[in-house]
Each structure stands twice: as C-alpha cells, then as structure tokens.
Symmetry: C2
C-alpha cells in the first residue's frame, strides 16, 4: 500500500516497493490541494510503475483553512537559504496532512490485509514540515499497533519510509535506476495555469537542487514547453 | 473540537465540553456509513448543545470495504453475552475508523488553534473495537505532539476522552444532568427503512442495557413510532 501524491518522492517510493516484490496498491488523496494535475499524474504513474490497483479518494482538507497550499492565498516564493531558519515551518504546511494520509492508508491497508504501508517522506531536502520526520513515522508506527484489529493480532502493517534519510539527489538517482519517468511527476505548489512549474516555490527549488546535485537534467524542467519531452500531459 | 457522530456518546461528550466552558467546534464525518440519518441528528445536536460551529465532511471509507457497517452485507445481530469472547472484534469494526476521525479532528483543531479534541469513546460498555481503548488514545496523544506545528511548539491540543472509563448507564446519567436530549441521538447500526431502531444489533443492545441500568426510559425506544416523543425527525 503506497501513498502516491504524484510527486517525485512518492513515485520513487512506489518504484522501490515494486522492486522489492510487493503487489502494490496505490492510494491518492485529493485533499483540496490546488492540483487536479497531480491526481492525473498519479494515475499515469500508478499504471506505469506496476501498481495492481489505484484508488483516488477525495477529502476537503481546505474546509477549515490553515495553509496557503489549500487556500486562496499566494504560495510564497522560497526564501534564500541564508534567510530561512532551519526550524521554521512555511505557510505551505497543511495541518496534520500526513497524519490524515497515513490514517487513510492504514484503513485501506487493514481492509485489504496489506503487509506494509510505504510513504515518500524525507527529512533531508525538505520543507521543515513536522510530519516528514522520523519521530512522526515512529509515532504512527506505534499507533498502528494499538489502533487496529491486525495490530492487536500482532500483524500491523509495517510503516516504511525508504527515503527518510535520502537527499533529493539520492532519491532521483535511485528512481532513475528503477526506471521512474520523472517527466510524469509534478512538484510545483503553484496553480501553474500555463502548465509549467513556476520554478520559484520551495518545492520547485528543492526539485531543481536535487536534479542539479544528481547531475541529471529534469525532464520536466522549469521552462519546459507544453507537450514537451517525456510525454508530459499538461493539465 | 468535538467529534460528533450523532450517537449517544458523542452527544454527551459535546455537552461535557460545553459545560466545561469550551467554545465548541463540532466535526461530523460522513464516512460511508449507512446512516445519513446520523448526520441529520448531528446537525440538530450541534445546534442544541451550543456548538459555535459544525462542519460535516464526506469521506468514503466504504471505498475499500472491510466492514459490515460500510458494506452491503448484513449487520449481525448481537450474540448473547455468554457466547461472545471478550477479545473478539465484531464485523461491524471499520478498519482504522477512529484513527481517521482523530486525524481529521487534529487537522481541524490545528487549523483553528483549538485547545483540545474531545471524542466519545468508551472501553466499558463497548463493542470491543481496538480504537476505543485507552492505549489507542494514549498513542494518538503521543502522535499529535510530533505530527503538528502546534505540537512542536509545545501546545498540541489535549486529546480528551471523558467517557473512556464510564459505563453506558453512567454516560446517560451524566448527559441527562447536562440536559442532553437523547431522543435526538441515534445508535442503531441497521438501515432502519421504517425509521425505527432495530433493537437487535450490538449498538441497540448496548443502548438498551445503558438505559435499563440508568433506570430511565429511552426516549427513542426500540419501538418508538415515527414522529414520536422528543421531536425526533425520522430519516
């Protein structure tokens, strides 16, 4: 059971799970984020990366606000590295997002008797969100053991975060070795009405840094033209 | 922030939070359960018990099956007490339901800077669900501290389960003292096309036992007629 947002990290995570030999069920949650595009990409990725099933469920996490990513406010530009305190959490943080996503994954996993839940969080090249850190994954692991029937029976699904200690460059290299088509992944936080990543938000910045450090070109690019390389379908 | 299903326990919990002086935000999750009726009741209860806001969000936990409560299967009759092993978990268990509900509550609570989350679980007169026990509440409390921005800032919402050690009869007496109109609460698991609780499912059995032990009559009854006492609006 793999949480698949349609971004670079979750696509790599699905490829990792598939390469380990799991029969993968993919789950995409449309949580009121700006990008229906991400859900489209997730469908293509799930198929391309060998998931045997892909579920998309809708959930309106924008109902109560609390984030620039789900609201009408402007997505902030990434601050230069020197200006940003390591401990700060940007306004793009969606309250308790990964808790909600993992809870839904746990429900799906238990209903289908899945042996593991994979999620693509990383605490290296990341935005400082609290629910991307090892402490969060550990706490959810403990919760899964007591919250479920399968947990009480001693067979709670493993909670796997294979990228948690990987830099974006390491993730990209791993994914390329597994055949991930990064042209299908989407990272930008902006609405991107012209179908191009903005290149200026925190997520675009982390992606660009990752490809640069990996020494490969981003097939999507930040100035890729519509209908460009890699069969990218633009929303 | 009070999780309000429309049942007896969550209504009492809202009344308790209100009596403690909290400005209460109520959250009802339509999770693919059989009862749109419960959502209707929740709206009436939220208003009647002084919630300053009530949100209803839809979520299809029936998408992947795994429970007789969200599926098309028959809701089982309660087994006689002597026949049921204490440790067994009935088929009405919805995989990871309370984990999902608390995760959504945590998102709502953090977005609105709520000081506490109240939920109406009890581990006394209950159906044996794993996510109604103190160990579950404790694990979620630990998770909330590391999963959120407010948690990292040392002000995670308290996770309160005031009924966790209360019998159904104690809950009912407490609620009556606080003015809860139990005619508005709904407990039955069955579809009840005629608008009457079935009287035979586990939830009806626990409710009947509670009222009997409390020494008061259930205003809903198991054979209440449509449009009967207490202003009950039938679905």
């Amino acid at each position: 059971m793999v949480l698949l947002s349609g971004g670079l990290d979750s696509a790599t995570t699905l490829a990792i799970a598939h390469a380990e030999g799991w029969d993968c069920l993919a789950l995409t949650v449309g949580y009121g984020q700006r990008h229906a595009r991400e859900v489209d990409r997730a469908r293509q990725l799930a198929e391309g990366l060998g998931a045997i099933e892909h579920r998309v469920i809708d959930l309106d996490l924008a109902a109560w606000g609390g984030s620039s990513l789900t609201g009408d406010g402007e997505v902030p530009r990434a601050a230069p590295a020197g200006e940003r305190a390591a401990a700060s959490i940007p306004s793009t943080y969606v309250p308790a997002r990964n808790t909600v996503l993992l809870a839904l994954a746990l429900a799906y996993a238990e209903a289908r008797d899945a042996g593991a839940i994979f999620l693509g969080v990383s605490a290296v090249d990341y935005s400082g969100y609290p629910d991307c850190r090892p402490a969060f994954v550990d706490a959810f692991r403990a919760l899964a053991r007591v919250a479920t029937r399968v947990g009480l029976e001693g067979r709670a699904p493993e909670i796997r975060a294979p990228l948690i200690n990987k830099s974006k460059a390491e993730t990209i290299r791993w994914g390329l070795a597994l055949g991930v088509d990064y042209a299908l992944t989407w990272s930008c936080y902006d609405p991107c009405p012209d179908g191009r990543p903005c290149g200026g938000c925190e997520s675009c910045r982390l992606r660009a840094k990752g490809f640069a450090e990996a020494g490969v070109e981003d097939p999507l690019g930040s100035d890729a033209s519509p209908g460009g390389p890699g069969g990218v379908r633009r929303g």
